[in-house]
Subunit: 318 residues, 2 copies
DNA sequence: TGGCTTATACTTATCCTGAGCATAATCGGA
DNA sequence: TCCGATTATGCTCAGGATAAGTATAAGCCA
């Protein structure tokens, strides 16, 4: 077995792979979450990890700036994929995709860049539950899922499929869980209800609304949305997406935009204030109907003061 | 700028990289967390991602089984690293490490495998706070950290360093946060207090207790411990580490072993029971001092029934 | 039997959360 | 000027979750 320990560290042609860096770059503008896209809105900014890059992150920064002209601020790694099956082609060498989530503010895309800010719900219409289930899906979604479940061979499998659909999509009086973005996408893919599945060989049927993307990009986007929806609950990352000064309602609208659902206004404010995440600037928001709101800014100090925990264990003091 | 969109997809030698798969394989035996190691306890199971591997996970499974004889059960991806700086050598092509966390139960390592189960606190003595700070560290740790902070050039930097140390290590009456495993390791590395830092070029000093590992492996292990400590709080993953039947105290001891701190017995039981994670087997534990305890088993049903949410947003019903 | 050990049931005070009511401040017409 | 629409902001209240501790049960062993 000692032989197994020896590893072929040389870049032998046999085990060489290419690594792609992919960015899910998010902004929120006027209550709508946006993502940076290239190639006619059908792809995320991305490019190969090259010898010249000092690190994965610096490689990603280089590609995003080259393709979009947008500098990268807050960044975190999402996931690393390498499924040859998904992209077809069983002959070519392995290609790995290392994906990242970036948070910024929308600004004008510079001259000469073929990049755009696109609303992320164009790609995932079923994820926006702020006004209930969108009309374009209300009729079809559940019935298509039921049809998929029914098409299984045994009744056991049928029940299993339906249970999975019901849990992920909040059917049969179950709670909607906004974090299951990836699970819902994977299910729709397996059910052959989205263009990517048909492209990859599923039986051609009428698909569910929602713009497709090249390769795995919509799956990567789903991963990014899921991560962000989970993270805003226990880390103050929303502020990366806000302007320097904002009203509490603007903050709330941003959170709602990301989560795809509405929050209770008064309780939201209590939460924000008790955590001391913001402080008043002293200024008052103009240009709005209704009573003018105070402007707040993020207290950057909290990041240094607290290492926010999030315990769920009944710890003992002794 | 259109040129920037074109990507060199061919496996040109220039952008070829090698990808290593690394496994943090965890078990808990009699209240001690263990990890699978090879190479005289100085390395994690790992090997290159090869052309023959169908996917990243299957490649990992192949390597772990070849090196340890142990089958891989529950697996999740941890992180992907590619810092050329860390491993020295600015000339060689990029090498990427894709790391995974695996959960199993300890069993005998088969004949002919140079693999061992090692206690994970041998690598991170400062992470075990079940009996307070270990005696081997009580005197040194805080003073070494203070010395490091003092050695900064400006008083501003000194304060910054000490604040960072105090937050991550729970000094100055701050709370100990067991999830900051990676941050603590990174800080010790930067402070030159562990062998890996000296190996990589830091000034040679007396280091803090704790076994080093090759390359980035102890950093990867820190990442795995941190992930697991966070995850046991909101997903029922502990059960992957438990035998089929167990007493509530054994379960508690396992959680404590992973978290590195003690929990309140009665409240722990209430938490487990109210979440309906377990059910009685009807049997009673023998071979123990004191009143015999009921045996429980994990209710696998919960995984299907619930998509455990973990909301921290004040959602609105309307 | 009494003492040691662990299991398990119950109590208490406090805090957090969801939900809703009430009032304040501004604007645009009637 | 007053009313209605709209948003901001303060406050209450009930129910549930949590931290901590008390009390009792059930084994073993000397």
């Amino acid at each position: 077995m000692a032989g197994a320990l020896k590893k072929d560290r040389a870049t032998g042609a046999a085990n060489a792979v290419t690594a792609d860096l992919v960015a899910v770059l998010v902004a929120v503008t006027e209550g709508e979450p946006k993502i940076m896209t290239i190639a006619n809105d059908g792809a995320l900014p991305s490019g190969p990890f090259e010898f010249a890059h000092r690190s994965l992150q610096s490689g990603l920064r280089a590609w995003v700036e080259a393709q979009t002209g947008h500098p990268l601020g807050y960044v975190e790694q999402l996931y690393t994929f390498a499924d040859r099956g998904r992209t077809g082609d069983a002959k070519s060498p392995h290609s790995i995709s290392i994906s990242y989530l970036g948070l910024t503010r929308e600004d004008k895309v510079g001259q000469g860049f073929e990049a755009h800010w696109s609303g992320w719900y164009e790609y995932f219409p079923w994820e926006d539950r702020r006004a209930g289930l969108p009309a374009s899906l209300a009729k079809t979604l559940a019935s298509r899922l039921r049809a998929w479940a029914k098409s299984a061979e045994t009744t056991g499998l049928q029940r299993q499929r339906w249970q999975r659909a019901a849990i992920t999509f909040g059917l049969d009086d179950r709670e909607w869980n906004e974090e299951l973005v990836l699970q819902r996408y994977e299910l729709l893919y397996e059910a052959g209800l989205i263009p990517e599945a048909v492209r990859d060989g599923a039986a051609a049927t009428t698909v569910i609304p929602g713009k497709p993307m090249t390769g795995d990009h919509r799956r990567i986007l789903a991963t990014g949305i899921a991560r962000l929806r989970a993270k805003i609950k226990y880390r103050p990352v929303v502020f990366e997406l806000m302007p320097a000064e904002f009203t509490l309602l603007q903050l709330q609208r941003s959170v709602e935009a990301l989560a795809g659902r509405l929050v209770h206004k008064q309780n939201f404010r209590r939460l924000i204030e008790q955590q001391q995440l913001v402080e008043e600037t002293g200024a008052i928001a103009t240009e709005a109907v209704g009573r003018p709101a105070k402007l707040f800014r993020f207290r950057h100090g909290v990041l240094a003061e607290r290492a926010i925990a999030g315990t769920k264990l009944p710890l003992s003091r002794t």
